[in-house]
C-alpha cells in the first residue's frame, strides 16, 4: 500500500443546502428538502413531492461556456466538482493532471436524456433526432464532462451500482490512491430528479405516500411507508495523504477502510438479506483497524423502506452486540430524501461534517420507534458530540452492499 486516502474538499448540491457549509448547517438544523415537484408534471403520479433542489442554476458555478447541451445530472455533478476543487484548493495543472482521476457513481447517467432521445426517434423518426443529444445518452457522460471541464487526465470511471454507487465511487478512489494509481481523485455521486427515474421508483411501489398520505421520509419509524426520491450530488476530493500534506492542504478527514459484499438473498423486502451488509461492514472495520466499540457514529442507509431499515438495524445489532443501543445511528435521508446513486457520497459528506464540527445529524420526522429498529437513532434533533470514527453504509435491493469507515484527521 502506498499511503492513505484523505479528504481535502467537499462539494455538495442537495435539497437542503448548496455548498458544504450550508449542507452541514442544514443537517445540524434538521432541515428537510421535500417539496412539490416542479421539474416535470407530477399530476399523473400518486405522489407529487420529492427532494428537488430549489433554484439550482449551474451558471452560478460553471459560467456560461459549454452549458447548453449538458443535462441536469451533468450540471449537478460538474457544479459539485467545482465546489469540491475550490474547497480543497487543488489546482489542476498540466504537470499533475495525469495523476488525478475522476470516479463518479451514477446508475443511469440521465435516464431523462436517454428516454428523450429514444422518444424523439420514435415520434419524429430516426433521421430527425438531434445528434448532439446522443452523447448525453451514454451513462459515463456526467463523469466524462467533469474531466473535460477541469482537464483531469489520469482516469475517468463511472460506477453504476444503484443505491451503492456513490459509496462505491469513493472506495474505488481510495483504492486507486492506496495502490499508487493516483495522487488525487474527484469522487462522488450524482442523481437528477426526472420523470423517468421517478416513474421507475413510483411504479415499483417504493415511494412514501403511495396510499394517499403526505409523503414523509421517516427512517426507522414505526409509521414509515417508503422513501422520498430526491436529487443531489456530492463530490469529494480524495488525496494521497503525503501529496495533500506536501501542498499544505487542509485535511478534513481520512478514509480508513472500505468493504463490499453481495447478498444473493436480497430483494425489495430485504427479509432474508443481511449477510452481505454484515460482511461489508466487517471488511471495512477490519481494513480500518477499528473495533466495533470504537465506532462513534453510524451514518445509515435506512431510507424508510420497511424491510431495508429493519435489515440494517438487525445487522447493526449483530455487529455491535451489547453496545448496539448506545451507538448513535441516524439517517440523513430523513432530511435529504433518497438520492439513490448520490446517497453514499452525500452520506460521507455528512459524516465528515460530524467529524469536523462535532455533531451527529438527526433522524428527523420521528414519531414512534419501530421495536424492530431499536437503536439510538438521534431522533429529531442533532446532537453536539465529538466524533472520531464514522461508519457509512449502503445497500441495494439487487444485492449490492457497501460500507466505508471515515475518521477524523490527526497528524
Amino acid at each position: 500500500m502506498k499511503g492513505r486516502a484523505v479528504i481535502t474538499g467537499i462539494g455538495v448540491l442537495s435539497s437542503i443546502g448548496k455548498g458544504r457549509d450550508a449542507y452541514w448547517k442544514a443537517l445540524q438544523r434538521g432541515a428537510t428538502g421535500v417539496r412539490p415537484i416542479t421539474l416535470f408534471d407530477a399530476a399523473p403520479f400518486r405522489v407529487k413531492s420529492a427532494g428537488e433542489i430549489a433554484d439550482f442554476e449551474a451558471l452560478a458555478y460553471l459560467g456560461k461556456k459549454g452549458l447548453r447541451d449538458l443535462d441536469r445530472s451533468t450540471r449537478l455533478v460538474c457544479s459539485a466538482a467545482k465546489l469540491a476543487l475550490d474547497d480543497s484548493g487543488l489546482a489542476i495543472s498540466d504537470e499533475m493532471s495525469r495523476s488525478v482521476g475522476v470516479a463518479i457513481g451514477t446508475t443511469f447517467g440521465s435516464l431523462h436524456s436517454i428516454a428523450q432521445f429514444d422518444r424523439s426517434g420514435l415520434t419524429e423518426g430516426p433521421r430527425f433526432v438531434n445528434p448532439s443529444h446522443f452523447p448525453n445518452t451514454v451513462i459515463n457522460s456526467p463523469a466524462s464532462q467533469v474531466s473535460i471541464r477541469f482537464t483531469i487526465k489520469g482516469f475517468n470511471t463511472t460506477l453504476s451500482t444503484g443505491f451503492c454507487a456513490g459509496l462505491d465511487a469513493l472506495s474505488y478512489a481510495a483504492d486507486f490512491i492506496r495502490l499508487g494509481r493516483a495522487d488525487a481523485v474527484l469522487a462522488g455521486g450524482v442523481e437528477e430528479l426526472c420523470e423517468e427515474t421517478y416513474r421507475l421508483f413510483h411504479d415499483l411501489g417504493y415511494l412514501s405516500g403511495m396510499s394517499g398520505a403526505e409523503p414523509v421520509s421517516r427512517p426507522f419509524d414505526a409509521g414509515r411507508d417508503g422513501f422520498v426520491l430526491s436529487e443531489g450530488s456530492a463530490v469529494l476530493v480524495a488525496e494521497n495523504e503525503e501529496y495533500a500534506r506536501s501542498r499544505g492542504a487542509d485535511i478534513l478527514a481520512v478514509i480508513l477502510g472500505c468493504g463490499n459484499a453481495f447478498d444473493p438473498e436480497a430483494d425489495s423486502t430485504f427479509e432474508r438479506a443481511g449477510r452481505g451488509l454484515k460482511t461489508a461492514i466487517a471488511q471495512a472495520l477490519e481494513e480500518a483497524c477499528v473495533r466495533p466499540k470504537d465506532v462513534g457514529y453510524v451514518c445509515s442507509c435506512a431510507n424508510g423502506m420497511p424491510g431495508l431499515d429493519r435489515m440494517e438495524a438487525r445487522i447493526l445489532h449483530e455487529v455491535f452486540g451489547e453496545d448496539a443501543r448506545h451507538v448513535p445511528v441516524s439517517s440523513i435521508k430523513s432530511m435529504i430524501g433518497e438520492t439513490y446513486s448520490a446517497s453514499g457520497a452525500l452520506a460521507v459528506a455528512a459524516a465528515v461534517g460530524g467529524l469536523r464540527q462535532g455533531f451527529i445529524p438527526p433522524t428527523v420526522n420521528h414519531r414512534q420507534t419501530d421495536t424492530l429498529c431499536a437503536l439510538d437513532i438521534v431522533p429529531n434533533a442533532a446532537r453536539a458530540q465529538a466524533v472520531k470514527t464514522v461508519l457509512v453504509t449502503a445497500a441495494d435491493p439487487y444485492g449490492q452492499n457497501s460500507a466505508l469507515v471515515v475518521g477524523g484527521y490527526n497528524r
Binding site: D118, N140, S144, I152, S160
Partner: protein
C-alpha cells in the same frame, strides 16, 4: 499483495459463436457476424446491418421463471458467465469456499428495457413490474452473482466502449488487494435502437461491412454480445489445479479530457504507456496489439497515430488486428471479448485477422494482419479500448506458460 493474477475460464456469447471454442474457430476463419438488424425496424435509418447474436437462446442457460426479470444484455451476461464458470471447472463448492466477486461492464446497461418502456408509454399501455425491475444496469452483475451464489464484491462499470477493460482491470486490483479470490469479470451489451439511431445520426455506421484500417472504410457496425473471464490469483488457480489461459500483467487508464466523442493521440498513448509501465513490459516485448479498431475514419487514424507515438519505429513489426471487423462494435462487451481473444492468442500463438481489408491507407500503415489469420509466437498482447468521454483503458495479457514450456526457447 503482488500475487500474480491469471485467467482460468472464458465465456462468450457473440454473433460468430456461443462458447469460446466456436468463437475462436470463427475468428481464425475470418467469419463475419454481420447481418440485417431484426430486433427493431430500421426502415427509416440510413443503414440496416448490425452484429446481432442470431442464435442466442436465453432459455438454454436461464430458468424460464427468471427470464421476465432480465433484459437481453443481462441474459447474455448470465449465459457467458455460465460458460466461463464451467470452462474454469468451478463448482458450487468453490463459490462457498472462496470469496467470489463480479466485476461487470456495459455501455448501454438495460437500454432495451428502457426502449420497451418508452414504446409502451407512447402507446399508453401498462408497464409490468418485471420490465421495471430490468431497467437499472446493475441487474447484470446481480444476476451473475445470484447464479453462482457469489458473496464477494460486486461492481458495475458504465465506462461506455471501454467498460470490459475497466471491469477486468478492477477485478485484477480486487485480487491483488485480496478482496476476492476469484472474480467473474466481463461485460455485456445488447443491440439497441437508441445506440443504432445515435451512430446513424453521427453518420458513423458502415452500410455493409466493417473495414478497420482500410482506405475506404465507411464506419463501425453496432453489434452485441457478452464476454466473461474467470480471473483469479495464481495461488487459487494452482490449488484448484485449474488450466491457465494467460496472465494479466497490468493495465493503464487515461482520460482525454477533451471531447465527448473525439479521441486524442495524447490520451490514447498515455493509456498504453501506463499499461506497459505497470506490467514492466518494454516496447520491444509487445508481440500483438488488439486494436480498438472500430472502422470509423477518425478512430482508426488516431489509433494508428497513437501506436506510432508509443512504439516509434517498432510499430511496423507489431501485428495489430481488429476483431470488430467480424463482430462489429459490441460496445462495452467489445473489450471483454477482445480480452478473451487475447487470452486465446497468447495461449495458441495464433492471431485472428482484420477482415474486409482491401485498400491500404497510408495513415494506417500498421500491420493489420489482413484477411488471413497468422501463426506467430505471442508472448505479450496489449488490449486497447477507447470510449465516449475519452475513457481509455489498455490491458496487458501475457503468455503464462513461458517460451520454454511451449518448446520455443
Amino acid at each position: 499483495m503482488n500475487d500474480r493474477v491469471v485467467i482460468t475460464g472464458l465465456g462468450v456469447v457473440s454473433s460468430i459463436g456461443i462458447g469460446w471454442e466456436e468463437f475462436w474457430k470463427n475468428l481464425l476463419a475470418g467469419r463475419s457476424g454481420i447481418s440485417p438488424v431484426s430486433s427493431f425496424d430500421t426502415t427509416n435509418h440510413f443503414t440496416h446491418n448490425g452484429g446481432e447474436v442470431r442464435n442466442f437462446r436465453a432459455e438454454d442457460f436461464i430458468p424460464a421463471e427468471r427470464l421476465p426479470f432480465m433484459n437481453r444484455a443481462t441474459q447474455m451476461a448470465v449465459a457467458s458467465a455460465k460458460l466461463a464458470w464451467e470452462d474454469a471447472g468451478l463448482t458450487a463448492g468453490d463459490a462457498a469456499d472462496h470469496t467470489v466477486g463480479v466485476s461487470h461492464g456495459t455501455t448501454l446497461g438495460a437500454a432495451q428495457a428502457i426502449e420497451e418502456v418508452d414504446s409502451l408509454l407512447i402507446q399508453k399501455q401498462e408497464l409490468r413490474k418485471g420490465l421495471l425491475y430490468q431497467m437499472p444496469p446493475h441487474t447484470a452483475p446481480s444476476a451473475v452473482a445470484r447464479e453462482f451464489n457469489c458473496h464477494g464484491p460486486n461492481f458495475m462499470f458504465s465506462t461506455a466502449c471501454a467498460a470490459g477493460n475497466y471491469a477486468i482491470a478492477y477485478a485484477y486490483d480486487l485480487i491483488r488487494m485480496k478482496r476476492a479470490d476469484i472474480v467473474l469479470a466481463g461485460a455485456s451489451d445488447a443491440v439497441s435502437r437508441i445506440e443504432y439511431t445515435g451512430f446513424n445520426q453521427f453518420k458513423a455506421v458502415a452500410p455493409e461491412k466493417c473495414q478497420p484500417f482500410d482506405k475506404n472504410r465507411k464506419g463501425m457496425i453496432p453489434g452485441e454480445g457478452a464476454g466473461m473471464l474467470i480471473i483469479e490469483s495464481l495461488g487459487s488457480a494452482v490449488r484448484r489445479k485449474a488450466a491457465i489461459y494467460a496472465e494479466i500483467g497490468g493495465y493503464g487508464l487515461s482520460c482525454d479530457a477533451h471531447h465527448m466523442t473525439t479521441a486524442t493521440v495524447e490520451g490514447i498513448a498515455a493509456c498504453m504507456n501506463k499499461a506497459l509501465l505497470e506490467a514492466g513490459i518494454g516496447k520491444e516485448e509487445v508481440s500483438y496489439i488488439s486494436a480498438h479498431g472500430t472502422g470509423t475514419v477518425a478512430n482508426d487514424k488516431i489509433e494508428c497515430a497513437s501506436i506510432k507515438e508509443v512504439f516509434g519505429p517498432l510499430y511496423k513489426g507489431i501485428p495489430v488486428s481488429s476483431i470488430k471487423s467480424m463482430l462489429g462494435h459490441t460496445m462495452g462487451a467489445a473489450s471483454a471479448l477482445e480480452a478473451i481473444a487475447c487470452a486465446l492468442i497468447v495461449r495458441h500463438d495464433t492471431i485472428p485477422p482484420t477482415i474486409n481489408y482491401e485498400s491500404p491507407d497510408p495513415e494506417c500503415d500498421i500491420d493489420c494482419v489482413p484477411n488471413v489469420a497468422r501463426k506467430q509466437t505471442v508472448d505479450v498482447a496489449l488490449n486497447n479500448s477507447y470510449a465516449f468521454g475519452g475513457n481509455n483503458a489498455s490491458l496487458v495479457i501475457k503468455n503464462f506458460a513461458g517460451k520454454k514450456e511451449r518448446g520455443l526457447d
